[in-house]
Subunit: 304 residues, 4 copies
Amino acid sequence: MDYKKIIYKSFRVTEQLKDRGQLATYIPELARVDPSMFGVHMITMDGKHYGLGDHQQKFSIQSIAKVLSLTLAYHLLGEKIWKRLGVEPSGTKFDSLILLETFEGIPRNPFVNSGALVICDILISELDDAPAEFLNFVRELSGLSTLSYSDHIADSEKATGYRNIAMCNFIKSFGNIDNEPEEVLDFYFDLCSLELNCEQVAKTFGYLANGGCKINDGKRVITKSQAKRLNALMLTCGFYDESGEFAFKVGLPGKSGVGGGIVAVYPNNYSIAVWSPGLNKKGNSYIGMKFLEELTTHSELSIF
Amino acid sequence: MDYKKIIYKSFRVTEQLKDRGQLATYIPELARVDPSMFGVHMITMDGKHYGLGDHQQKFSIQSIAKVLSLTLAYHLLGEKIWKRLGVEPSGTKFDSLILLETFEGIPRNPFVNSGALVICDILISELDDAPAEFLNFVRELSGLSTLSYSDHIADSEKATGYRNIAMCNFIKSFGNIDNEPEEVLDFYFDLCSLELNCEQVAKTFGYLANGGCKINDGKRVITKSQAKRLNALMLTCGFYDESGEFAFKVGLPGKSGVGGGIVAVYPNNYSIAVWSPGLNKKGNSYIGMKFLEELTTHSELSIF
Amino acid sequence: MDYKKIIYKSFRVTEQLKDRGQLATYIPELARVDPSMFGVHMITMDGKHYGLGDHQQKFSIQSIAKVLSLTLAYHLLGEKIWKRLGVEPSGTKFDSLILLETFEGIPRNPFVNSGALVICDILISELDDAPAEFLNFVRELSGLSTLSYSDHIADSEKATGYRNIAMCNFIKSFGNIDNEPEEVLDFYFDLCSLELNCEQVAKTFGYLANGGCKINDGKRVITKSQAKRLNALMLTCGFYDESGEFAFKVGLPGKSGVGGGIVAVYPNNYSIAVWSPGLNKKGNSYIGMKFLEELTTHSELSIF
Amino acid sequence: MDYKKIIYKSFRVTEQLKDRGQLATYIPELARVDPSMFGVHMITMDGKHYGLGDHQQKFSIQSIAKVLSLTLAYHLLGEKIWKRLGVEPSGTKFDSLILLETFEGIPRNPFVNSGALVICDILISELDDAPAEFLNFVRELSGLSTLSYSDHIADSEKATGYRNIAMCNFIKSFGNIDNEPEEVLDFYFDLCSLELNCEQVAKTFGYLANGGCKINDGKRVITKSQAKRLNALMLTCGFYDESGEFAFKVGLPGKSGVGGGIVAVYPNNYSIAVWSPGLNKKGNSYIGMKFLEELTTHSELSIF
């Protein structure tokens, strides 16, 4: 399979699209990004890199980081984390409180905001200094030894994150948050504030394409079974209430962020990151979704 | 991969489980089935068959047939069927009317009852005699030239199917059913009444493991892209509000029926049918789910 | 209190309003009514009549009839009818199925469609010929010995009443309808088809203003306690999801119908009927609501 | 009407009931109250007082105070407060977030917690020192010049009030809270912490029985029309999802609190307060509801 050619072709087709979606406006920092940005970076199992467009430009990875915090919690505690949250698609918006009320504080899955908050709570309980240790974990995965949280983004979210504050206190009211909501939220806003470029994202998530081991040095991050299960979760729940559409049209496990980034993996083949900040109506990168659809249509390669 | 050994081992482990779940009671005919039944049949791409237990015993395939009616509609009309229903997991029970009201008569996906009813309506509008032509389609896939609807099961469901009557009329009230509800429901109850054994089910669904072509004669049923998309749909929506769990633990596209049958496919590898009539709390075969989990754990083979 | 003057003044103010709302379009027969119609008729405890405008013009009373069927069921069976339905406002549209699913087939109150269907079912079970005996009951109340159901309206509703068919079968699926849905629906459409003019409506409902006894001959229809309770129900649930607004602005027990009629009572004082077929967004007579608001504002008389 | 006799009789019947309901446990301070407490106090328009049982014992009035904050806001701003909240019964629990999400941050009415929070926000915006000025307002109504907030109760609620924190931030996320959630919540917990005995409650709410004027000195608090409208609101929304039941069985405008208190008014006749801390399943005083039902049954006097 000539990935270079396929990526190139898909990129050219997609970049000509006039509609680029809308920037997220509810987080002030994200509303200031140049909407014409578009980058792609793929890393294959045999270590080849293919980068195009603005793939060296850093962006706020936002919810993509939820896969990393989940990975760390899953690694530390194993299957018992599922006592506190489910693995089912939610069928509703990522920040809806309705299902949370119906299921009495048990988030439907770890990728809706409520589920990510519970994962943060688990890490805070389990680790001495969750924000620092989580940062080290991401540094290790990305190879970026000086990576830090972006205070200006975290602060921007904190200042307007009333719905997340609501959600965290709501879960706490059902007894499914053990620590103080403020501490949980601080950590949550921190992890959403990470900034990486497409190459770094593709590299960081390589372990999910590689049976749980980092691509560059083969070091094990999680078990093979855990990697498969995280991929299953990304496929069924990674794109909010557009997850079915993504599975249907793209057919790869992936996770999007409101900053316009998407990471996807084709197990045993490649890890890929796409970024374009304009979002579609469901809150996923407009151009990013189109590009990945082109890519898997041309390559005829998907997990299905 | 020695499938024979893996199937044998998984079967032995599973058949020793004492808990067998509960028979469906809301359809009188299904409540009369022997709860100790348990059969498995796998067909690989190279034509090998592996059958164990009650794999030659016929059972009511129920909702599994929804994949076949969807296949026929998709084949006849292509992507335009998605104007009338979605491809997203529902997050709620298979026969809930709540989301249907929220989305004004547009079913979330073709595997919830409302979606299957819309597919029936599409086939009635498109074909001269939908029940007869659909039956021929299944005869062709299964190689069973004398296959017929089971009137005693269809009648049993009709007599107690008030919720499905409610659902069909509800969708009609939103304008998303074109034909008379009674005709749509008759066809729906017919298709759910089909009886096949595990071997026949595995054979019938071989095209989804084989890129859209029948395994035995290579005849194309749907395009490769359509086959992939149906697999994606089965993965995200095939097990009602346990779809995420099935993807997470088993990792294969599949579809269950309230008669206790499950079909699953591992694309480019095999098609498999399992049957055991006792159901878990979510309405899926208790033993069937356990068996498939064993199978993919032992084989370490899943799409993820 | 000079009711004549107050009615006259309120009528003049209201009839000058240019906005008259929208005719109900989902029942073909109702869409053909002259939207400029506006009539009012009040009957006081001492037998005085005040009529203005089109108060002698017959109209389809629709849901107003639900109070009469409830009265008959309450009279026949007493408090035990409340085992099968509640007395709480629904907070949602009159024909929503969402709460019905949440409460497993127990309608929130007798004035949402689902509740009225359960009352029809109760009457069918209790009476030899419910439609005939109910008609006699209304003839007795209204003094109209030749009153009949209006087949053209009932047929018009039956032909398009998919949502009511859905609702009746949905309740049946929960076990809260004993008879065949078709029979229940036929009776339901019959009772909604009654046509009366404002004077006849005001007379028919006089017993609710008069402690349970007819105004003209003092004959007891229901107990005083039952009359009070029906008034309480009309106040909290009589105007769908605008019941709070009506209590707030008008402050009288009442019931509206989609034909544009409203009946209201001021206990121990008067019974009044208003009719104007244009509806507001909540499905209640636009002008009718405005008139009654004027009336109670001028008279400074409400139950509060 | 011999109120003394009726109250006495109703009290005797009710105090013999063995079931006293359950104390509220989610607010630690309320869980410590003696569950055998039961007091009643009525004040008639002609200034007569009838007190029985523990009517001189102070209790936490909790949500009953919401009527007072609403009264002050209504007095200050008039009808424009209704741009920010509705007047419809909610059909759900008092602290549900579901309808709030459906209606995008507009509370259904001022007596659900979300509505009371919006009223607090309005008062904070409108007044220089809302907590102090509100306290003065209640001192004036009750004649208790040294009345203060009960810090131990407010603190007890603050420490466990995660759901209210959730709700306030949730409304803020929709833009319907102008001030900082923390300030709004502090005021909310303050007003819920007020402690009065039955006599003081009956006196404080006399203006709602007396057309908007205090009973003892005739001083106007709100207009007659506003008093009627507040009574209408109490009748349709005063008892959470048991409001319909209260209207049906008791037939008076009233408001309950989770501390076991209930205030009710019979316009132009009397104001009455009942207190017994054990609650029924809907969160209203078990014995209090029974007593008021007895009272209006014996007296045959209700607004209906």
